[in-house]
Symmetry: C2
Subunit: 429 residues, 2 copies
């Protein structure tokens, strides 16, 4: 049986998950591929660290060159996380003629073109299925089975931590801060949750999806990105009354020759399949011009689901090596996909504000929206808050408008004598 | 640009959908693959028939050998439907060294091993993504990106007609016969709906899924299969009260060294992602031992979604041809997958019956279930039906039991003096 040799960079959660996935299903993989896949070396910071997994200490190395310069290693699997040194290691591996598999969304989003160029120049394969949606094989589907489609829109719930927090806030009527604390205690959120709750992780993943689906590069830092930290239980309750759930969405959609994209919490209609995606689950929803609506749902994180995606890539490359075809053909021109990225575009919005409980307030505010060309879809005036003297909550769902235009209108409204505070502005899907 | 030539067998709904998918996205496909895919000949019954699509009449032929014996044709795409002559044509094409793509679940389920053997012997590729779940790229995912998993269970809603009927019955409280009539008028159900409503179409698809996922052949006619014709609006209403929706499910699951499989309407808990799959949509839910729960959702039928899946297979093969690697490696042994198929196994059941409204009835029936070793999960006794004198509906949700054992118990109960009629027996997921 032909043997394919792997060098693993990193042996944290995902590294051990990948190792365990391979060991657990070794016989199954061999029976289905006719190949033996062997992890021959593992790069770690400390060879002598005690680990709760049995791995021969001969396999460990602290020297990256033991892997990058070993001619017997076919595939380098990068699971270090972070942009550097992971990116440098991967580029060197590609340059040395090794195939590369990674789960590292930050590195792929930051250096997408460099990785593609290096893979192309060195006639090797570069795969990163685990970088978006964890175990869900969405990148593979988009680049193979769905290639006969042009996609108009792609929407994703691609961060399990924030989806868990929003789900718990929704189901138990809890505040953001309380749920975050519990999530941290349970290990569902990091001690420093910034990358998750501020939407940075999602922006990395959206940047990768845009590269694949729309063929243009939009660096994550150029994607308008908003996290979930300002979502209140009140917003969630009001969303429910209007028939929505609040989800942190990655959105990219074509509008003619333009591409709009953003990472934002959004009101998702309860009838939409994404509304039913709860807790740590992820899902990617896409509308192709032939296949129509599709959704892929599964575990977006965790050692074993991520290990499944990493091993899927390793198996694909291993089979290609065995067939003598371990390279990708790249087309000469991507001219048909020359879209222009224009930021977030126009969206519907939910606006919640506190207003004076006096006659004429609704008319005045509606008139201001009208003067800015903003249509009102629905409005809800709640009865007086027991704690606030002569102030009532007023909620609008507004028709499509740019965020800049909306902010101008809200600025004018908040300076009027009627409104005391704009409490929330959330996109409506 | 290298050109790949296709011979199309059949030009009905799916044939024209495939043709349109290719034409609509030709530039996109060329830009992404660097290949030109050309449909060079189309087998039809009547060359002179008027069609609402512009195709040069030179492309049509009524003679299958014009395609099977044409050395310039790389890939034969079979979209005739039905087991014969489709199977004979495909086997001949494979024998002639042509790659084959098909959307034909009946033919693939009937002759799976023959197709695999012929593809292997002739070192060509055989693909059938569109045969299960229409546009949803589930077979591709299971055989590539998810190959590092052993699957414990696979569940599918894989027939759009029956899911549409059940959804409409649920949403509007309608009877089966009324919804079927409307569905036929709207073209969502065939004039002869037997293959759909009796579960035959689903059994074909489940047979294919079992071959792929569990590595054993279970012919569709050996799968215990039940359709939706006896589901009443009353069953649907009661399911709702217990927290379930009724769906026609294809189920296959491992129980140790055994495989259980069946096609049956089932109570699906509302919290399960499959419960939210409505109308003509399909979904396949699978639980892998590394990736955990996954669901793929999309359009299970229709000319364009099916065309998307067919073209996905065509593109995969075309890329492999261009790389000089258009063949599959088959493993020597599938020993690890030697499961024994044992039919439907044990399941939970919902039983609805009419009983005499006299003291002791609940005790007597519960005692009978107990005597047969059948545990009661929950029970609901409804108040007297206005139309039936001294009879009341009695509903049970029962713990795991084989259907044979349950039928014995129900036979005894229906012969007792208390029960007048067993109205429904439906599996509970």
């Amino acid at each position: 049986m032909e043997t394919i040799k792997i060098g693993l960079l990193g042996f944290g959660n995902v590294g051990t998950g990948t190792y365990k996935t391979l060991e657990m299903n070794r016989k199954h993989i061999e029976a289905n591929t006719g190949l033996s896949i062997e992890i021959s070396k593992i790069l770690v910071n400390d060879i002598n660290r005690k680990r709760d997994i049995k791995v021969s200490s001969d396999q460990f190395t602290q020297n990256i060159d033991d892997i990058l310069l070993d001619p017997s290693i076919d595939i380098v699997v990068e699971l270090l996380g972070g942009i550097e040194p992971a990116s440098t290691y991967m580029l060197k591996a590609l340059k040395n003629g090794k195939h590369v598999v990674t789960a590292n969304k930050a590195a792929v989003a930051a250096n997408f073109d460099d990785f593609m160029d290096a893979a192309k120049r060195n006639q090797v394969m570069f795969r990163y299925e685990a970088s978006v949606g964890g175990g869900i094989p969405i990148l593979n589907a988009l680049t193979t089975a769905l290639l006969a489609n042009e996609f108009e829109e792609i929407l994703g719930i691609v961060n399990g931590t924030t989806n868990y927090i929003l789900t718990q806030m929704t189901e138990y009527g809890l505040d953001y801060a309380d749920v975050l604390k519990t999530a941290q205690e349970k290990g569902f959120a990091e001690a420093d949750p910034t990358a998750d709750v501020e939407g940075i992780d999602v922006a990395n993943k959206l940047s990768i999806l845009i590269s694949l689906v729309f063929g243009i590069r939009v660096p994550p830092e150029e994607i308008p990105t908003e996290g979930i930290t300002s979502i209140s239980k009140n917003d969630i309750r009001l969303a429910d009354q209007f028939g929505y759930k609040i989800k942190l969405l990655a959105t990219a959609k074509k509008a003619g020759k333009q591409l709009e994209a953003h990472v934002q919490p959004a009101f998702v209609p309860k009838s939409h399949p994404l509304a039913a995606v709860s807790n740590e689950f992820n899902a990617v929803f896409a509308a192709g011009n032939a296949v129509d609506d599709l959704m892929f749902y599964g575990k977006g994180a965790g050692p074993m689901p991520t290990g499944s995606a990493v091993m899927g890539d390793v198996i694909e490359i291993s089979k290609a090596i065995a067939k003598g075809a371990a390279f990708d053909h790249y087309s000469e021109s991507k001219a048909v996909k020359m879209l222009k990225f224009v930021g977030e575009g126009q969206n519907k919005y939910y606006v919640s504000m506190m207003v004076k409980d006096v006659p004429g307030v609704l008319g005045s505010i509606s008139t201001t929206f009208g003067a800015f060309g903003i249509g009102v879809d629905s409005v809800l005036q709640l009865s007086k808050d027991a704690n606030s003297d002569r102030e009532v909550p007023l909620i609008f769902i507004l028709h499509e408008v740019t965020r800049a235009r909306l902010d101008e209108a809200l600025d004018k409204i908040s300076k009027s004598k009627f409104a005391s505070e704009i409490k929330s502005v959330i996109r409506v899907m």
